[in-house]
């Protein structure tokens, strides 16, 4: 399989593109993370989400520590070729490092951010030291 499709992406100056992970069943937006060329290539090959960790400066196969693998059923690109959208199945039902289903758990209510979603699992239990 040719890698030409990777050349279509408008990579940022840092060589990255943001990727949205959406639950393929519920449609819920679970998280946004970054990918470099190799991360997106591996994501397509493995059909599992691989991101680029900007803090750790390395490839991050989502779930490698937590077991919370994201099975990827579809990859889309937007009209500016600078945002990727993944349809995924979230293993363990937890995408967020806080132990919640989605990273978007804060909702604006009357001028305040309110954490509306429950913590499903203690992060200390997710990431064993």
């Amino acid at each position: 399989m040719s890698d030409n499709w990777l050349n279509k992406i408008n990579w940022s100056d840092d060589g990255l593109v943001p990727a949205i992970a959406q639950d393929a069943q519920s449609g819920r937006v679970l998280m946004v993370a970054w990918m470099n060329r190799e991360a997106l290539k591996q994501t397509a090959e493995k059909a599992e989400a691989v991101y680029w960790s900007r803090s750790r400066k390395k490839l991050w196969h989502k779930g490698e520590e937590s077991g919370h693998i994201q099975k990827v059923s579809e990859i889309r690109l937007d009209c500016d070729q600078d945002v990727v959208l993944l349809q995924i199945e979230q293993q363990g039902g937890i995408a967020c490092h806080t132990g919640r289903a989605s990273c978007f758990y804060s909702k604006l209510e009357n001028g305040q951010w309110v954490a509306t979603d429950a913590v499903l699992k203690n992060p200390d239990e997710i990431y064993r030291k």
Copy 2:
């Protein structure tokens, strides 16, 4: 209403944050654009999406030319406070400047990006000169 909630955002060095617009009914991700502080403030006040156009370097009240206003029913923020998620009702059913429902109309199939979604309206008819 205090503006303190705007201080919680991790604005980029350029003072921007990406905002995802999701159809509140279908759950479809329609587009991603950028907001500065004023754009997000106006979005909350008007309950209509206002973005920051990086190319035109000005506030962009989505639909101001096309009539394709986005009514905002919910604003969420992710765990890193650096991505905003809007639940919207898309007036006219067209979010993309190409005349499609969603900007994410290209799908990766066998190593190629394929435009899978129909153009609902000719862009020349949307943006009258």
